[in-house]
């Protein structure tokens, strides 16, 4: 074996180079649809339907974007709706999960294991099943009659967040008991211990949970679709789906350029959000699945 390493190293280097080239090609092909959407938004209708397709728009036009912003679709209203629903969801989920996660993580009381197990076992249930009763509830309470009611209704199915409780409970186990006991000896109330000591220590976990929840709430498409009764109640994904709406089986596409502008507009906010908070996204994803 001793005469082999140099040969191996050379082979490994070329394998790595081939790997790098393959990766670049793969990344390009996975990003190609997004490129096609963005450039498509700058193409005239005649160009979007021409064969061969123009790989780079030779006569870029803003026509689609003008149509998007001045047309019948209240796109900025959709942004406000999406941001409002997602923020409301994040605030409520953080509040609820941090209290409950701390309770399960640090407090001893009869039945805590059973209660936690019941909660956790529902983590992987298909939420579409619960949507039917929740929809009937929202309908009977006439929540969709007011803007605030719609926002609350849209946040509703995410308020029970087994994942959030699980994440905070696990994170609480890193807080030393001595710290909490010391606070107790110093005469701090339960509530003061929670707000002054526990919450600050939970900050990294709460940040990851916030980013994760915001993204989830933003893309909670089916529920938004079911609830929104007019175009002023749409969230961005719902609105974009209506712009691009086609007869069944995709037989005709009404306005490709406008659809692409709508899609680009819809993707823009989450992509910026992702680039800004990439590390929190990754923390939220890897939490619980990977040791370390």
């Amino acid at each position: 074996m001793s005469e082999m390493p140099i040969k191996y190293r050379a082979a490994e280097k070329s394998v790595k180079l081939i790997g790098f080239i393959m990766l670049t090609l793969l990344a390009v092909s996975f990003l190609l649809p997004l490129y096609w959407m963005v450039t498509g938004s700058f193409k005239l209708q005649t160009v979007t339907m021409s064969v061969p397709p123009e790989f780079f728009p030779s006569n870029p036009t803003l026509e689609n974007w003008v149509k998007l912003f001045t047309g019948p679709w209240p796109v900025w209203r959709w942004v406000i709706n999406s941001v409002a629903v997602s923020l409301l969801t994040v605030v409520l989920v953080l509040l609820i999960s941090s209290l409950t996660g701390y309770g399960f993580g640090k407090k001893k009381f009869p039945g805590s294991n059973t209660l936690f197990f019941v909660l956790l076992s529902t983590m992987f249930l298909p939420n579409q099943v619960m949507m039917i009763p929740l929809f009937l509830l929202v309908r009977s309470l006439h929540l969709t009659d007011s803007t605030l009611g719609v926002y609350f209704a849209m946040a509703l199915p995410m308020l029970s967040s087994p994942f959030g409780v699980f994440l905070i409970k696990q994170f609480c186990s890193t807080i030393p008991d001595e710290l909490l006991d010391a606070a107790k000896i110093d005469g701090a109330s339960e509530w003061a211990t929670y707000t002054k000591i526990v919450l600050p220590l939970l900050k990294p976990a709460l940040a990851a949970l916030a980013i994760f929840t915001f993204n989830q709430a933003w893309n909670y498409f089916m529920w938004h679709m079911v609830l929104a009764s007019d175009k002023f109640q749409y969230t961005i994904p719902v609105g974009v789906s209506f712009i691009a709406r086609t007869p069944a089986y995709g037989k005709t596409i009404t306005d490709i350029g406008l659809s692409m502008a709508g899609g680009t507009f819809g993707a823009f906010f989450m992509v910026i959000f992702f680039i800004a908070f990439q590390q929190y996204f990754i923390k939220g994803i890897t939490f619980g699945a990977v040791k370390g």
Partner: protein, 297 residues
């Protein structure tokens, strides 16, 4: 008596615990547990738009589902989607993660972001552009395939193709999350283990098969479990691209639930389909948990 007293004492001692879990647990009961139980009970009723006029019919919804061809198609499709998408996602993301792992940290984070980006944009937004790419006359895909002498394909309006079109689009955004998980798992493999193998003369391929993959086992199982559950709930791409068509060839259980509950207002039937989906996911999860037990996670 003293046992009862002790329990009461412990409950009283733990009262702050109950207060802390109360908000979350009440939300859990109100918005998950009660709706779940209500959905299960609703599956034993026949119900249209006005649910106060629902009629108890026992197991009739389930009996009728058993001979419902659309339900059968949706069930088979859902299983087929899972059998195709989950292994493909696992394989592609594992290969990509193994290719990214040896690179510099900065290049790593670039590729990680690039593959995760389509998922961030979301299935709805991606479907908007795929509707255009799949267009039979002026879509990009048929144009590119034309170079290889392939005749224009009716991607969304022909029976087997519509299924594969959905599969293809879903794969473009499901791989991002597993790649991040695998990279985190690979980064956690102790360096000295790999170095020891190097000293023993193992090449990169051997290190991958005999060290990296076995050590990634917990992460692989986690990805398998979460992806399976996600694909079982496949809906938005079908809604955007094919509306389940043509002739239900690309429909899924969740798409059928959406259609039955929120378009046809048959809440009893939709709940019954939901309960079937729930049972399938339960069985699959329990089955996968048996594998989890063998690994020390």
């Amino acid at each position: 008596m003293s046992q009862f007293k002790e329990l009461a004492h412990n409950i009283w001692k733990g009262r702050s615990g109950y207060l802390f879990i109360a908000p979350g647990y009440l939300a859990f009961i109100a918005f998950l547990l009660v709706p779940l139980l209500f959905a299960i009970s609703l599956s034993f009723y026949r119900s249209s738009f006005d649910i106060s006029a629902r009629q108890f019919v026992g197991f009739e919804q389930y009996i009728r589902l058993a001979s419902d061809p659309v339900f059968k198609k949706a069930l088979i499709n859902t299983i087929n989607y899972t059998l195709v998408i989950v292994p493909a996602t696992l394989f592609i993301s594992l290969v990509i993660a193994l290719l990214i792992d040896p690179l510099d940290m900065r290049i790593q984070s670039f590729f990680r972001g690039a593959f995760y980006l389509p998922g961030v944009a979301g299935g709805v937004i991606l479907s908007v552009v795929w509707l255009w790419i799949f267009n039979p006359t002026y879509g990009l895909l048929n144009y590119v395939l034309g170079f290889f002498g392939i005749e224009p394909v009716l991607w969304l309006s022909n029976a087997p193709q519509s299924f594969w079109a959905v599969v293809f689009v879903v794969l473009t955004f499901t791989i991002g999350q597993p790649i991040i998980l695998f990279l985190a798992g690979l980064a956690g493999i102790p360096k000295d283990v790999l170095d020891a193998a190097q000293v023993d003369g193992a090449n990169d391929l051997q290190k991958t098969f005999f060290i990296r993959l076995p050590l990634l086992r917990p992460v692989i199982l986690f990805v398998l479990a979460t992806q399976t559950i996600q694909v079982f709930q496949l809906w938005e791409v079908i809604f955007m691209l094919t509306r389940g068509g043509p002739y239900n060839s690309s429909t899924s259980l969740v798409y059928l639930i959406y259609q039955t509950a929120f378009i046809s207002a048959k809440y009893g039937k939709a709940s019954a389909i939901g309960v079937v989906l729930l049972l399938i996911i339960l069985v699959v999860t329990l089955f996968q948990m048996r594998f989890w037990k063998d690994t020390d996670l």
